[in-house]
Amino acid sequence: MMSPPNILLIEDDCEMRRWLRVILEAEGYRLLFAETGEQGVIEAAARRPELILLDLGLPDLDGVDVIHRVRGWSATPIVVISARGQEKYKVEALDAGADDYVSKPFGVGELLARLRVALRHAATVRTGTEATRFKAGGLEVDLAARWVRVDGQDVHLTPIEYKLLTTLARHPGRMLTHRQLLKEVWGPNFVEHNNYLRVHMSQLRRKIEEQPARPRYILTEPGVGYRLAEDP
């Protein structure tokens, strides 16, 4: 077993640092702290953490700038902490290269899940071993054999729907922005056409979800994007 992963927490609020430290150290992570964006970038370069947990509302730097600067030389996964209602910044952060986000206020379970997904994703990228099969609850996707099953039943998808689902399935549990999905499925010229995505997502849901208004597999993050549930 490797040594416990280092997490760099860039957060200016003392109380936030305090309770995050308690929770995360109890989970076996080792915590490094930075109180400002500048300090965070230096710590990230000097200490090489396995993951960066970044609050977007920093006193000195715009959180998105921190992402840009770290992404210049590192692929370290970055999870962003942001307030709800700042969807625009979340999308900016994700498009700038952040891996995921949690909205303030958030529960411990939610945070740990994001961290797990981000670390695992980084590991797959590092090792180059991408899973060809995805399974969550009753939903099964085989990327190699190109089939989709819900509760053991084959589901027939249009090429677009299939591509949408497989794009999500390649990053299980991870937030994908509308822009990222549009770029992946339709191509770089269609990144502004949110409505395409919504129409096809709606159709895809009707095919795989029992109750589209209470989805189990494809979760909506209003104003940001979609996430394939890891373990519904």
């Binding site: 709800r84 209602g85 969807e87 206020p105 529960g107 249009t158 090429p159 677009i160 339709w186 269609f190 056409h193 949110n194 409505n195 395409y196 919504r198 129409v199 096809h200 997502m201 709606s202 849901r205 109750q211 589209p212 208004a213 209470r214 989805p215 979760l219 909506t220 993050e221 209003p222 104003g223």
Partner: protein
């Protein structure tokens, strides 16, 4: 008897005005040389010694050592030098006086006429402006310069007096000090050369300074001062309720016409009115003949009316057929007790024939006393009027002659076949024709000419003017009378018609102005409308100025291109706006301007700006009726401006009150609803921290769960507050996009996962409803609030229904519960700000539904609440359905 409240009010108002206005002290004398200037300077020195800021604005250079000695040590403003025909004239420097702003300013010779090029024609106008600026003024005046006494003095002394001061200046003065000297002493001083008289008046002064004259003048001066003291005492009595008897108010009416003596009649009336302490009205009755009078004659009446206004009379122009009837009807309507009229000027035979206005007035006046005033006073100057005869309409006379000639030829050609009566008819037809087409004179000429030719050609003996048979005499006389009557009547009817048209035009203009001004909303529209109305009615160019920042006038609108508006006109407008009096063309102030500038009156005596009217004709506003109409329209415009301003202020105030009310409500709601969950969280956490070891694990968990659910609630509340701020700030921009309804509903449900645990949720979404166009985040908030509301007001475990469907033209989202529903009337109040169903129940700032309403309205939709059959409440959101179907993307077809 109690004083009349109106009078008291008037007095209070006057006193308030006076407080802001400077006080006027007049040193009043019977003639030059009594020592007015000396007395004034002495008074000034006393003031100076008591520490007041006294400045000499202007004192005539007397060249007497006693006076010069008094001048020494007093601050003196340098006089303004005005070049006039090669000589340098000294004038009071008005602007320097206003700029210096002393406490008391000394201005000698109030009756002085300023040299041309000065702002005001008369020095007393300068003094008025200085008083208005709040500066006290000391001044001097001689009795012969009082307007109402002017012609009496002229009559006594035989010397015309041109420089006069209107009586109201004296009446409004706060103090009059009579500077008196026995005539003998004055004569002695005069003979010793101690009386200052300008060189050019040397000769006249010899005639003036005679004992008889001085005695008469002294008596007049004493009486004038006594009158003033009397008026002051009466004022005091009103204010202090001293009076026991209050005389029945006399009201005096004066009838004037275009007579050369009209002005004298007005002055006589003023004297009488003052002696009787009566209010007085000057009336000018315009008969249809009025319009046929030459301009110069008519302007005599206008000048007399103007003088009357200056002397403090009310002036009225009446129109009608009959001077006597109109004047008496008006007199009765105003309870006039005495009528003054000039003695008839017509020769006796004329009066015997046609009667005079005086006779008719005496006959019909009933209880009203009639005074006939001799208007002619020896020595008074009456300027002969040139062009008194109007131009003779030769063309019309030619027409008359031609028509009579035609009638004669026609008559002759039909002879001897027709009867003589028929010939008369032909002539009469001609006369009627001429009378209809031309003015009075040619009609009369046609009549006389017809009679003559008839006599000449058709009655025996032919071709002579003699008549030999009695029958012809009758024919001839009847023809003459009928012809004259027809011609007279016709021209009268014509004049009346044109008179009526003119009156109708005025009434219509005022009506139109009132109507159009009441219909417009903004300041700019009011001004534009007024300018257009005035331009059309008076055939003039109009510009409107309003007082803007730093009390500077700003040109707001012009009727035409406004090319004539230059710095001078703007200067005049500024003066008018500052002083609230008219100026410019045709007035005595800044009369060099091309336009007449009128103040635009606002509420409470304020002046809102100035309206400049540049008539096509220079004398365009000499007729007081036109002036009055113009003022009425400008007054209407002022009222309309006030109205728009008040409406604006009221609206702002209302918004402010509403904002304030809303802020207070929000603050109290928020402070309550933020603290409640915080209290729970704090209580639960401190319970575990401090008493944790004594609590069993399941109770600890319960406490923690309570804290967490309260934190969730707090989170939602904060979110709502943020949304409310966005909505209220007014710059809410909808981020409209296509969203599948299930996605929005799903997102809302996931936010409420914990609080909705254990609830049965029935979700139905119409399949044809693939996408709706909304702001996703805001609509999610609406759904969260509605779901939370349903959860809060229905029993735990009861089902909640969520529906999305399509109705004609709308998308409908419905959230229904099985709770207690709404009490009657509550359905509507539910969307009022911060209304909460039962304040004692579980929290929520009541802003949830307020937010919902605001968001849905921003989408152009509606939100309604109703009770369901079988119990429970339903909240229904209807959003407009966009026409264009959502695009599906290129690959959708693949």
């Amino acid at each position: 008897m109690r004083p009349d409240p109106d009078q008291l009010l008037q007095r209070v108002r006057l006193e308030e005005q006076k407080r802001a206005r400077g006080r006027l002290k007049v040193f009043f004398g019977m003639a030059a040389g009594v020592g007015k200037t000396y007395a004034m300077l002495q008074a000034a020195r006393r003031l100076r010694e008591s520490g007041r800021d006294v400045v000499i604005g202007y004192v005539e250079p007397h060249g007497r050592p006693e006076t010069e000695a008094l001048l020494a040590g007093l601050e003196q403003l340098p006089p303004q030098r005005v070049e006039y025909r090669g000589t340098s004239l000294r004038e009071l420097d008005l602007d320097a006086s206003l700029a210096r702003r002393p406490e008391v300013l000394l201005v000698d010779e109030l009756a002085h006429t300023n040299s041309s090029g000065s702002r005001h024609a008369k020095r007393w106008q300068d003094v008025e402006e200085i008083l208005d600026a709040g500066i006290d003024v000391y001044t001097t005046i001689n009795v012969q310069h009082v307007e109402s006494l002017n012609d009496v003095v002229s009559a006594i002394t035989g010397i015309p007096v041109r420089e006069t001061v209107p009586d109201f200046i004296l009446a409004e003065s706060d103090e009059i000090e009579l500077v008196d000297l026995p005539p003998d002493e004055l004569l002695q001083r005069f003979s010793e050369g101690k009386v200052y008289v300008p060189d050019q008046a040397k000769l006249a002064s010899q005639q003036f300074f005679r004992k008889g004259n001085l005695i008469a003048l002294r008596e007049m001066a004493l009486r004038k001062v006594a009158e003033n003291v009397d008026a002051q005492m009466r004022g005091y009595r009103v204010a202090h309720t001293v009076q026991e008897t209050w005389p029945v108010a006399e009201r005096l009416m004066v009838c004037i016409g275009p007579s050369p003596f009209a002005k004298q009649l007005v002055r006589a009336a003023k004297r009488t009115a003052t002696q009787l302490h009566a209010a007085w009205i000057v009336v000018n009755v315009q008969t249809p003949d009025w319009s046929r009078l030459p301009d110069a004659v008519r302007s005599r009446a206008y000048e007399a009316l103007h003088l009357a206004e200056q002397l403090g009379a009310e002036t009225i122009t009446l129109s009608g057929d009959n001077v006597t009837t109109e004047a008496l009807a008006f007199a009765r309507s105003r309870n006039v007790s005495k009528i003054l009229i000039g003695k008839p000027a017509e020769p006796l035979w004329k009066r015997a024939l046609r009667g005079s206005i005086l006779d008719r007035l005496v006959d019909q006046s009933g209880e009203i006393d009639i005074y006939a005033v001799s208007a002619r006073i020896k020595g008074s100057e009456i300027a002969p009027i040139h062009g008194l005869r109007s131009k003779i309409p030769w063309r019309e006379y030619a027409v008359a002659v031609l028509v009579v000639l035609g009638s004669t030829l026609l008559g002759l050609s039909l002879q001897p076949g027709i009867d003589l009566a028929d010939v008369v008819m032909i002539y009469l037809l001609g006369i009627v024709g001429v009378s209809i087409r031309t003015s009075h004179g040619p009609g009369l000429a046609a009549c006389l000419l017809s009679a003559t030719t008839f006599n000449f050609f058709f009655t025996t003996p032919y071709y002579t003017l003699a008549i030999d048979r009695a029958q012809f005499v009758i024919t001839f006389v009847v023809m003459l009378i009928v012809g004259l009557t027809i011609s007279g009547l016709t021209s009268r009817v014509r004049a009346q018609a044109s008179f009526a048209v003119e009156r109708e035009r005025r009434t219509h203009a005022l009506f139109e102005a009132t109507r159009s001004l009441s219909a417009v909303g903004s300041e700019g529209e009011v001004l534009a409308s007024a300018a257009r109305q005035i331009a059309e009615t008076f055939e003039a160019e109009v510009a409107a100025f309003l007082l803007g920042e730093h009390s500077r006038v700003v040109l707001r609108t012009t009727s035409h291109d406004g090319e004539w508006i230059n710095a001078r006109e703007i200067g005049v407008a500024q003066w008018v706006a500052d002083n609230g009096r008219r100026a410019g063309l045709g007035t005595a102030t800044l009369s060099g301007a091309e336009a007449l500038h009128l103040p635009i009156p606002g509420a409470g005596g304020r002046t809102l700006g100035a309206l400049a009217v540049r008539p096509a004709e220079v004398h365009g506003f000499q007729d007081p009726e036109r002036m009055r109409l113009l003022e009425a329209i400008v007054g209407q415009a002022g009222a309309a401006l006030d109205r728009t301003r008040l409406a604006h202020i009221a609206q702002e105030a209302e918004v402010e009150v509403e904002t304030e009310r809303m802020r207070n409500a929000l603050l109290s709601a928020v402070s309550h609803d933020l603290r409640t969950p915080l209290a729970t969280i704090q209580g639960a956490l401190s319970g575990i921290l401090e008493r944790g070891e004594r609590l069993p694990a399941d109770q600890q968990k319960e406490l923690l769960e309570t804290a967490r659910s309260e934190a969730d609630r707090l989170n939602r509340l904060v979110h709502n507050l943020l949304d409310l701020t966005r909505v209220q700030s007014g710059d809410l921009k909808l981020n409209l996009d296509w969203h599948p309804p299930e996605e929005l509903i799903g997102a809302a449900l996931s936010q409420l996962e914990r609080s909705l645990a254990g609830r049965e949720l029935c979700i139905s979404i119409a399949p044809e409803l693939s996408l709706i166009r909304v702001d996703g985040l805001l609509l999610e908030q609406v759904l969260i609030n509605l779901l939370e509301n349903a959860e809060r007001y229905s029993p735990a475990g009861s089902p909640i229904e969520v529906k999305a469907m399509r109705d004609p033209g709308v998308v409908v989202l419905e959230i229904c519960d099985r709770g207690r529903g709404f009490t009657p009337g509550e359905e509507r109040r539910a969307f009022e700000r911060f209304y909460r169903a039962q304040p004692t129940e579980r929290g929520g700032a009541g802003i949830g539904l307020t937010i919902c309403g605001a968001i849905v309205r921003a989408h152009g939709g509606t939100i309604e609440a109703r009770n369901r059959d079988g119990g429970g409440a339903c909240l229904r959101v209807s959003l407009p359905l966009p026409e264009d179907p959502p695009p599906f993307g290129p690959e959708a077809r693949a």
